[in-house]
Amino acid sequence: DQQVKQNSPSLSVQEGRISILNCDYTNSMFDYFLWYKKYPAEGPTFLISISSIKDKNEDGRFTVFLNKSAKHLSLHIVPSQPGDSAVYFCAASDAGYSTLTFGKGTMLLVSP
């Protein structure tokens, strides 16, 4: 049973527009949420995170929104750039930080 779901395997966006990547979770014990970016043949790299006590966190072009009642989070990238083309993973952790559960990923393609 998938506890973290990314229902869109892929997303195509034009350069300069907004990219919105979505993630749903089922485990109400999850307390901390993260987004990772992965290029081919490399390990995932941390992008941005959000604690359950917040509903929004911004870092430059990247903003993560959390809706706890809907068990939903989203990553907004504005403006999108071709270098943003990668696979994006949503991940979730409980308050003890002992494990980190990942979604299947969404491949983002930003075209010039």
Binding site: P9, A41, E42, G43, F89, S98, L100
Partner: protein, 109 residues
């Protein structure tokens, strides 16, 4: 400061062979993890450790073993390699955010 170092980067094993995937971190983090990534399947947790001497099973531990004798090292052992273990393996260490190694691409033939 190397972060998380995994060796080897690539390996081909024959069915039934054994090998150890090495993972070393210099970040002094207590939490360490081993994940495998299969195409289209995201990252699945194999084993994790919350500190030296402590290990625990993740979602897909069968066919693997780990040890954690020091804070720095968290090797993953495959005893009898099977084709189902063909995958890309990632080691990670964590404080709040997890930091990943570059991965080991393993093929079992």
């Amino acid at each position: 400061n190397a972060g998380v170092t995994q060796t080897p980067k690539f390996r081909i094993l024959k069915i039934g062979q054994s090998m150890t995937l090495q993972c070393t971190q210099d970040m002094n983090h207590n939490y360490m993890y081993w994940y495998r990534q299969d195409p289209g399947m995201g990252l699945k947790l194999i084993y994790y450790s919350v500190g030296a001497g402590i290990t625990d099973k993740g979602e897909v531990p069968n066919g693997y073993n780990v040890s954690r004798s020091t804070t720095e090292d968290f090797p993953l052992r495959l005893e009898l390699a099977a084709p189902s273990q063909t995958s890309v393996y990632f080691c990670a260490t964590r404080l709040k955010e997890a930091f990943f190694g570059q991965g080991t691409r393993l093929t079992v033939v």
